[in-house]
Amino acid sequence: MQPTDLLRVEGLKTYFFTRHGVAKAVDGVDLSLSEGEHLGLVGESGSGKSATALSIMGLVRDPPGRIVAGRIVFEGQDLLSLDAPAMRRLRGRRLSMIFQDPISHLDPIMKVGDWIAESLTLHKGMTRKSATAEASRLLKVLKVPSPDDVLDAYPFQLSGGMCQRVLIATAIATEPALIIADEATSALDVTVQASILRTLNELSENSGTAILFTTHNMRVVRKACSRVVVMYAGRVVENCETERLFCGPMHPYTVGLLNSVPSLERIGQPLVPMAGEPPLPTDDLPGCAFHARCPIRKPICEEQRPPLQEVHPGHWSACFFPEEANHGRDPSG
């Protein structure tokens, strides 16, 4: 383990045991995050990005889900070896999460102020009064216009963007080392999304909090993350710096994703979508999970699973032919 690693996930396998068979939602994921880093975990629905996030938080519902293999090392501790009370103490204190749909993650019959204060009284041992004052200060930090009115409101009285700011306030209240933002801006309007991303960026620069963004939105990745991990069918297919991903992707799935984004920088160019559909999580494929949709596939891809290899320093790809992956990709995008 490198000394700077805040979080390291090794060989994580999270399976869901359903009546249709075993769904290998996360099937051998490795990733690491250093202090203050912003990492993007990208993939389409069903790629396993949310299951990875929930596994790190220890929030996989069992049954049907279970972490069957791997290690999750956070601040030097293996989270999988912790018992439930120890995990509960860590969660909310050192490890926070922001969810996609803020309104359904707030208590509808609890005033927002009490909600934020609860986290502070619980984890920081504050009195109710000082916790409420702190909650008000946090909302001010998040540039909420009259914070005291917001504290006195119920979630249904607030907009989605405001509820998301409340969740963020709760998440940062205990000054955690890592925030997991699970599609945290996907349900918001673009202008609100932009302001929330900026706020998160500034907060993390000031406090050194690392953020793991799971998202399907390439724009969010480009704006908020310094490094990206691309997932497909439960596995990592590419891991590199954000700029490298956009300029020189080395996995045909990443290339396919980038070619599918209508981009204001590539005006007038046709979209080149990928053929076919992703495999079902219950399918057991011996080879590369992407081979059926891959434009550069060769016989070996169907038989053997390509390992995640460091193709260039700091750039990993799980493809047998990473140098060929980028054919047909317009570099200006």
Binding site: M162, T191, N206, P273, M274
Partner: protein
């Protein structure tokens, strides 16, 4: 050339009741508040805006799925604002809609084939009992939208989101409409499915020459699809113009902010963005004057007093902002206010 759709000063207001039992209050939600535009035959017009701006309501009022509060809707020259019964059904053959959610907009107990055949039957496009004719047309439509004839026997739950959306499209084009209203048709789809459905819309438009009213929150999708773009904010049109004009020279500060949020900028560029403070306003109680003024980086007192009207900035480009009438000066872009340190 007669416009396929012409909308003038269209309004849709909803009464909203609130308050406790003996203190009832009645307010008005002005979802669409005085919107005028037209669409030429075969033209693709995108309506762009954030949630609550009235874009979906606009689509539904145009379809006469909702009754307009005021204004007129003309379809190919005919006033359809107050049409009903048979005459309205005939117009509906020419205007069809595709909804956002391919999960909710198909009957889960009807096969794909039955869903697509339904508009053919209710509109009596085939002789009663002409099963072969209908089957042939359904198969043809399925192929047209990139599925195959065998899909007719499937139920919606057996299909992926992208495939379901194709079924919704096949059903909409079954009656050979001249105008398709597309209400966020790709917002619920994954990226690769989204790209394929967008390409399908382009092909269909090319082959069948339909006009589209394409409602979306995503400027890059609008850019990809549209000939002309309408930007809405809080029930009003704030800017309208040809795609190239609007993207290269936006004239309304809201359009500028939307554009800067939509650009695939890089890590280092993040600071140069125009980032708006606050949230879109509530349509119940929009701010006086220009509805954008509380969030506008250039706003001055005049903006809260006077509502700007759409002014012509070039041949087919209009915008509603006091910057264009000389009543307001553009402020130089100021660097973002640094957030107070977390532990002060």
């Amino acid at each position: 050339m007669v416009a396929i759709l012409q909308v003038e000063n269209l309004k849709k207001h909803y009464p909203e009741r609130g308050g406790a039992r003996f203190a009832r209050t009645e307010r008005t939600v002005k979802a669409v508040d005085g919107v005028s535009f037209s669409i030429e035959p075969g033209e693709v017009v995108a309506v762009v805006g954030e949630s609550g701006c009235g874009k979906s309501t606009l689509g539904r009022v145009v379809m006469r799925l909702l009754e307009p509060t005021a204004g007129t809707i003309r379809f190919a020259g005919t006033d359809i604002t107050h049409l009903g019964g048979k005459a309205l059904r005939e117009i509906r053959l020419a205007v069809q809609i595709v909804f956002q959610d391919p999960f909710d907009s198909l009957n889960p107990r009807m096969t794909v084939g039955a869903s697509i055949a339904y508009p053919l039957k209710v509109n009596r496009l085939y002789r009663r009992g002409d099963r072969r004719g209908i089957e042939r047309r359904v198969a043809e439509l399925l192929v047209e939208v990139g599925l195959n004839a065998a899909h007719a026997k499937r139920l919606p739950h057996e299909l992926s989101g992208g495939q379901r959306q194709r079924v919704g499209i096949a059903r909409a084009i079954a009656v050979n409409p001249k105008l398709l209203v597309l209400d966020e048709p790709v917002a619920a789809l994954d990226l690769s499915a989204q790209a394929r459905v967008l390409n399908l819309f382009k092909e269909l438009q090319h082959e069948l020459g339909m006009a589209y009213l394409f409602i979306t929150h995503d400027l890059s999708v609008a850019e990809h699809m549209a000939d002309r773009i309408i930007v809405m904010y809080a029930g009003k049109i704030v800017e309208m113009g040809e795609r190239a004009d609007l993207f290269e020279a936006p004239r309304h500060p809201y359009t500028e902010a939307l554009l800067s949020a939509a650009v695939l900028g890089s890590w280092g560029d993040a600071i140069e963005e125009t980032i708006l403070e606050g949230d879109p306003p509530s349509p119940i109680d929009p701010p006086p004057g220009c509805r954008f003024n509380p969030r506008c980086p250039h706003a001055a007192p005049v903006c809260a007093r006077e509502e700007p009207t759409l002014v012509q900035v070039s041949a087919r480009h209009t915008a509603a902002c006091h910057l264009l009438t000389g009543k307001l000066e553009r402020r130089p872009s100021s660097p973002g206010h640094p957030v107070a340190a977390l532990s002060d």
